[in-house]
Symmetry: C3
Subunit: 111 residues, 3 copies
Amino acid sequence: MTSLVGEKVRMRIWIGEGSRHDDRPLYEVLVELFRQEGIAGATVLRGIAGYGAQSIYRSRKATRLSGDLPVIVEAVDSQEKLDRVMPRIEEMMSGGMITLEKATVIRYAHK
Amino acid sequence: MTSLVGEKVRMRIWIGEGSRHDDRPLYEVLVELFRQEGIAGATVLRGIAGYGAQSIYRSRKATRLSGDLPVIVEAVDSQEKLDRVMPRIEEMMSGGMITLEKATVIRYAHK
Amino acid sequence: MTSLVGEKVRMRIWIGEGSRHDDRPLYEVLVELFRQEGIAGATVLRGIAGYGAQSIYRSRKATRLSGDLPVIVEAVDSQEKLDRVMPRIEEMMSGGMITLEKATVIRYAHK
């Protein structure tokens, strides 16, 4: 696993907290997919406000009932491994944005 | 809107949650500005601790009353569009940091 | 301090919210270290779900009692200054991931 160290890619997926797939939160399904595919790590961050591909403004106040705050799912691994999982991600998403950025992993260690 | 796909820029603005402009939270004003200017997407993340340009340490414990946790406003679009909105952002900010990073948008889709 | 403007580096450290050092939350110790070493800024973001170097899935639901959600500590400064602080960070961490990314600082201003 320490071979993860080096030039890698960070994928970021912007969706709504309320987006669902197979009756489950989409962000949970994506994290599970990343883990099953052996992607090195994934983290889900929730925004307190924002808008995205659908251009609908969301804020904590406005979404207390609907629960659809912006959510960012981040994953880090090689371009090849992220490319392999892309088609399945695309299938699951309706709206939303995906970006890729270069990231140098300098440490990846188990306890 | 799908023309957003390609090499773009991610702007990140670090301010305090308590920073205000015209009697409103500055992060809300910034998100509104980005939307009005047609910037493709914006998300506000709130930290649970941190310090910034002012070098004042903040944590959830210490700010339960003051509410001034660090906040990051992220926006993604072309360099040109972000450049155009920069002067207005600068006007609104007193302290804080702004960074730009390259990001490749590989999907930007409406529901 | 305005000399921070220019091509810099963003370090991101992925740990668990429950990771501790000297009986204190590790993310707090890291933020304090960054400040003592004069690093320009640091922010701690907490994820609502994720997994990392240890490959253990965490979500808000599952960790309500254990409190070990993923936490990202971000710091921005020059490569040289971040390099200098690296050995002490490595000493404090058991598991976890560290990445470096290029970031252009275009504003860094005190109130």
